[in-house]
Symmetry: C2
Subunit: 458 residues, 2 copies
């Protein structure tokens, strides 16, 4: 039996996420990102389509590399304005029963004590459907917003992140014993003080001396997502991540990364199925190949190439406004390591990419590929991706929201179900139980499990 | 025509807020504080009762003064566990149309840049129904949680708070011009970069160099709530607050405070009706005086005096566990200034209070009075409060949740409406428009209005 295919929806609390320009499409609802009903409708569509979850991106800063200032980002609405993603979750949780929520929070800008409580609160309110996409930040503008001169250097950020993880694991896993809350009305005892422990964390970057404020939530530690693909990022992900998002335009780019992460995780004693991997991809699906192609052409008429290069400039640190549209970008050096640019240009070492082609590629769905066709055509391609790369599913970007996700739920999901490659109902339980079919809590071999605490026997 | 009376509901994302012990009452739903449906039901009850808003308390720390440790607070569940309050708002906003949300956030533990975005996000999602209760913190345990040795000294905290307010006013009022967002699909321009300004804040405590991340929300600055009654706190409130919460057991305590705050505001050039004042009070109302009295007796059987003293110890810094229950507390000195204890003992300078009496008083609804009776009896007393003290309404605590609020909506509100002392429908518009009948934005004479910015004419 072939491996089932999983879907996450990739969204952001902003106007122009990964398809700049499409907010101008007449059927697009991007301008409604500020309205709860947009998000509630979306969550119901995704649950109807049996998606694993909604993945919410975030960025605390502005894409101000293109042209050397924020003007292009503002004009194109590329990820600015951008509102807080966590606050979308409670309204969607109330409207759904199974959908998971993977939310990006940049640990560089959230003191760990309050953040740990925020995630515990969401784990309670969602009844165990919350995940955290761990991000350490990549825009200098975000650092300036916090009163610093620039981002912490890339590899140092992961050292800070390790200290942060230790602090929040202690709070989530090690402060309240499972049996601390008695809620014994007759005896008048809510919690047994012997079951609650003060956390004393004296790390190089973070210090805490406190009880965790929340009683144990269904999952305790939220399901941990990560997207790092640099060497430092990959080690961090291999150690902490339960789900990994990656992006590249072709199977050739993705397959070796999947293998590298699984190998790194295995070296840390984690089983091969401990990490689920999702690759960024945009599906444009309709009843027939011709209809889908027509839809793609229609979308492309609204694509915004300058907006796409504004995003690319932020991701890579290269000011694309200075390059000729017909210049070849193959050999532009990027000091940030394996960059978004390399993600594209390494897809096919023999191909030469011009700036114009990069803009065109990125302008619908970002760095991932766009798969266009009938349900059968798209399903064929998605099966190839999964079978040839070892990924577990897709992080689906939208072209037009929420139309892209509605089309996936209505056209593509039934086709994959017919092929036995997609679930036909949700499993019960928390997000972690749904994803891995095991416990609601971190598995014993996970780095966070070392921080567990049981109160001493009486 | 007499002044209408306003209601806020006083709640907290925890088990035992101001009525410790009542979580054991058979009809009480306090254990459901972790469930969205509890909050959604509550918000609908309050909107049915035409409440101005739901006021959510918060505390980042543990009541560990009583007995010198957190044991009593844990055992009694007094404000620990306590989950994040902001995350309750979106689900309640989706279930209501008019109810306002005043949420406590301690500025000592939230970097201003991310916090400003969080509130802007909520102002968008609630369509202008968000308020912020500005708190600077009072528990040393919260400071320890953030890696500091103790709280900042009381008056210094207000200096930090002034710097914080300047930073967030700049972000809310001065970064995006009202006409910056064009959303011009034909021209392909989302925002006009000339209408968005970088905020450079170089304060003694906070530094920011960034655009605000959110486009202008309906109210921009959330409605500002404050509860300070110390001299430094009163000046801060007179300058910033639009609504003030106060607590004392009698009209005699409250009336001079109302006058003092209005005088302080007038000295700053604010009109007399610029600040609405709400006094803490618990209503136990039923069809007849006898029924209400029986209900009060029933509630008192579940009251938890040690839990009450645990709260009092945290509020005052005095370890009540060391005092004899029959000791007179009249002259205990409290170095934190006008303390919660003084709030009680000054109610009637001639009365002598014992520790036991303090515990009894505080164990239902905290420091405010409990008014028990038929709708007519309670309405009489509430009218006296408003007419004799100059307050605008009440911050209503609960004994049993949500029963206390349901009883107010079902029994008391209709009686006040019959007397012409309570609204019969909501006004349209944002929370600020509903409260003051003027603009959705801060009035011109408010300190925050000085940070407004219009883009230069072209």
């Amino acid at each position: 039996m072939s491996k089932p295919i999983r879907f996450n929806a990739f969204e952001m609390n902003c106007v122009a996420h990964q398809s700049p320009g499409l907010w101008r499409h007449p059927r697009d609802r991007s301008r409604d990102y500020k309205r709860l009903d947009y998000w509630i409708d979306l969550s119901r569509t995704l649950e109807r389509g049996l998606f694993d979850g909604l993945f919410l991106a975030d960025v605390l800063g502005v894409y101000d590399v293109f042209g050397g200032g924020p003007e292009a980002a503002l004009r194109h609405g590329t990820q600015i304005p951008v509102n807080d993603p966590l606050l979308l979750v409670p309204a969607m949780a109330a409207a759904t029963r199974h959908l998971g929520f993977g939310v990006t929070v940049n640990l560089s800008f959230e003191p760990p004590y309050g953040f740990a409580r925020r995630m515990s609160t969401l784990d309670h309110l969602t009844e165990g459907r919350i995940g955290w996409n761990i991000v350490t930040g990549y825009l200098d503008s975000a650092a300036k917003a916090a009163g610093r001169a620039r981002q912490t250097a890339h590899d140092d950020r992961y050292a800070v992140a390790e200290d942060y993880m230790a602090a929040v694991y202690k709070l989530w896993e090690g402060s309240w014993a499972d049996d601390a809350v008695l809620a014994d009305a007759a005896a008048g005892v809510f919690a047994d003080p012997a079951g609650v422990r003060r956390i004393e964390h004296r790390g190089p970057h973070f210090q805490i001396d406190a009880l965790h404020l929340s009683e144990p939530s269904p999952q305790r530690t939220p399901v941990l997502y990560q997207a790092g693909t640099s060497p430092a990022g990959r080690d961090f992900a291999a150690r902490h991540a339960e789900c990994i998002f990656m992006s590249g335009p072709s199977r050739k780019v993705i397959a070796p990364r999947v293998a590298a992460i699984r190998a790194a995780a295995a070296r840390l004693g984690r089983p091969p199925d401990a990490i689920l991997m999702f690759s960024l991809l945009t599906v444009i699906v309709a009843a027939t190949d011709e209809e889908a192609q027509a839809r793609h052409d229609e979308y492309r008429a609204y694509a915004d190439h300058e907006g796409a290069l504004t995003l690319m400039s932020g991701w890579t640190g290269i000011d694309f406004s200075k390059l000729d549209p017909d210049a070849v970008v193959q050999h532009v050096e990027n000091d940030a390591g394996r960059s978004a640019l390399e993600n594209i240009t390494r897809a096919d070492p023999d191909r030469v990419w011009t700036v114009r082609q990069v803009a065109e590629h990125v302008s619908i769905g970002g760095i991932g590929p766009v798969v266009v066709g009938s349900p059968g055509t798209v399903a064929d391609e998605l099966e190839r991706w999964v079978d040839e790369t070892g990924i577990d599913g897709f992080n689906l970007a939208f072209a037009v929201r929420p139309e892209t996700f509605r089309d996936v739920a209505d056209h593509l999901v039934p086709e994959l179900q017919r092929r036995g490659r997609y679930r036909t109902s949700y499993a019960e339980g928390t997000l972690r139980e749904k994803l891995f079919g095991r416990s609601a809590r971190l598995p014993g071999e996970h780095a966070g499990a070392a921080y567990r605490w049981a109160r001493p026997a009486l």
